[in-house]
Amino acid sequence: MKESLFFLATLAAAQSFEQKGFVEVNSMLYPQSARNDSGHAVAEGLLRYEGFYRPHPAFRIAAGVDARWDTHQQTAADFNWWERTTHRSAFDIRRLSATYAQGKFSVELGKQFIRWGKADLLNPTDRFAPRDYLNVLETDFLAVTAARVTYGMQSDTIDVVFEPRLTPSRIPLPRQRWLTVDSVPDLRPFLPGGPQAGARWNHIGRGVEYSLSFYNGYNHLPPYAQMRMYGGDAALPLRWLTIKGEAAYFASKTRYEDEYVLYVIQLERQAGEWFFVGGYAGEAVTNGRSIVDFAPDRGLAKAWLGRAGYTIDTNRSVALETAVRQNGHGLWTKLEYSQALGQHLRATAAIGLIRGRQDDFLGQYRRNSHAMVTLRYSF
């Protein structure tokens, strides 16, 4: 009896609950009207709440919900656990998962975020990370429903993921400015129902970190083709800077899908109040079969990418982000200023400039240059 009381007391002491979230209001102003959209302003609101409950030191439940509204018909009352709605859900389960960890072993089941890769500019191996592309350049990750098993300690870990049903990326909406063709066929009825699986081995060495990864399933971007990926990534800190590289080869059994290699190599450095990341993203098509697709990851390939930032003081920072197509046919650059106003509030103002040709992935959005103001209250 004493022992069981002691156990219960220990359990109660070990229990913990943590929560966090924010309310965000975001306004985007577009000086130019676009082919499918005459609107010049879009306002969005988002309430995000996340809670983490740990009934036992080895067990954790993570849950998160989003509540949204906007002025541009991007949000609908639809709800789909697998995030298969064309619009954003007005109320959405952002994440809901349970994790059990014991020694070298951990398993997480449920709707969760899985990020692979080491590069910061582009992640070809990040296959379990669909995104919301309603705004192609300001994206947010969508959680996938999966079982994730991780085995290993610090130096070598193996990550095995099984996703029973694809969560697709959310693509730009018809009659909105981020869709630059007149119309697109509704591919939702053709979303694949089959599972995807992947494994990643990660090694952390004294001077270098590297991974090998494999993915078999479907592309979360249209036309949702069958895809098999063989990838790797590495980070090598040198005396003056860190070199990171990531590459993946994509093969497909789908008749109209390209087979290609996507890679990125980047240099990064922080010095004092500055940080800098710059590099090149490249692509080599080994079997060109695609007729049409929407592929922001490949859209940033064959381009020089960079990000630089300066911390003015504890509460203020500026950052510049850019992508320049190597042939000069596309350019995107964003200048951002951010300031904390007290302990809870942060204001961010940004200007995004897009230039280029209609046949370039970046250039096609050239009428979407914009100014943006965001206010976020975190709690």
């Binding site: 993570a62 800077l241 109040e273 911390t311 509460n315 809870h344």
Partner: protein, 253 residues
């Protein structure tokens, strides 16, 4: 070289060797007296520009293992926008530490490269390097003399990193109290320029270990300082090895 000068030179060399050995012993004794198997505290930080509070932060810090060969996780509890951000520090006796930072907003961990560790840690006046422990064998020590600080008699010791590339500082001056071997001040230099100083006060005996509860880190280049108060400090708490891995950073969010 004539004899008197030779004797004087030999005397100086022997004197230096003696002083150097004493300095190392003092630092080793200081680390020995501060030994614990593990540690946990909550840090309440105020970042001040002049006398005006610019930001307030709160973190929980857990450490496991011997000084210089320990593992530590620091996780922000406040302000809300950085809640959950965590830093894993794995200290090594023979080299600089390994560090990884977990950022919940992007669900990614990132290794903090050695050359990036002079950067300020999340808007505080601590740099990433200031959050690591260094074993006594990684430095050459020299006693510069005796000094009185905070009404306490102290040894004033110079520490120079043996692998100069592994530190942003060329040397550090340390004031160690004679009565309890607690270091109460560090001045970190880049060549002749003082860049950061850490002043530790409110030294209390906690579970048999003399511990400063109040730290003030000053960045002399920015004229900024960070005050940290250690709350809920405990030694020899039950912590497990598997809490101090990159994988655990994600799990412990």
């Amino acid at each position: 070289m004539n004899r008197p000068i030779l004797l004087a030179t030999l005397s100086a060399i022997c004197g230096f060797a003696q002083t150097s050995g004493d300095a190392r012993q003092i630092i080793a004794e200081s680390q020995k007296r501060a030994h614990s198997d593990s540690q946990r505290y909550q840090g309440d930080l105020q970042v001040l520009g002049g006398n005006r509070q610019i930001a307030r932060k709160h973190w929980i810090y857990e450490r496991l293992g011997d000084f210089g060969n320990s593992k530590a996780v620091l996780r922000f509890l406040a302000p809300p926008e950085v809640k959950g951000v965590a830093l894993l520090v794995i200290n090594h006796p023979d080299r600089a530490s390994d560090q990884w930072m977990w950022t919940p907003a992007i669900n990614r961990e990132r290794r903090i490269a050695l050359q990036d560790r002079s950067t300020r840690f999340f808007g505080t006046d601590f740099s990433f390097e200031d959050l690591e422990e260094r074993d006594v064998e990684q430095f050459d020590f020299r006693i510069l003399g005796e000094d009185t600080l905070d009404n306490q008699s102290c040894w004033k010791i110079e520490a120079k990193p043996r692998q100069t590339k592994s530190s942003q500082y060329t040397h550090t001056l340390i004031w160690v109290r004679k009565d309890n071997y607690v270091p109460i001040k560090y001045e970190n230099y880049q060549k002749s320029r003082l860049v950061r100083s850490l002043h530790q006060t409110q030294v209390e005996k906690i579970q048999g270990i003399w511990t400063p509860r109040y730290m003030e880190m000053t960045d002399t280049r920015r004229n900024s300082r960070t005050i940290m108060k250690l709350e809920k400090l405990e030694y020899n708490v039950p912590l497990k090895e598997d809490q101090f891995t990159v994988q655990a950073l994600r799990r412990q969010e």
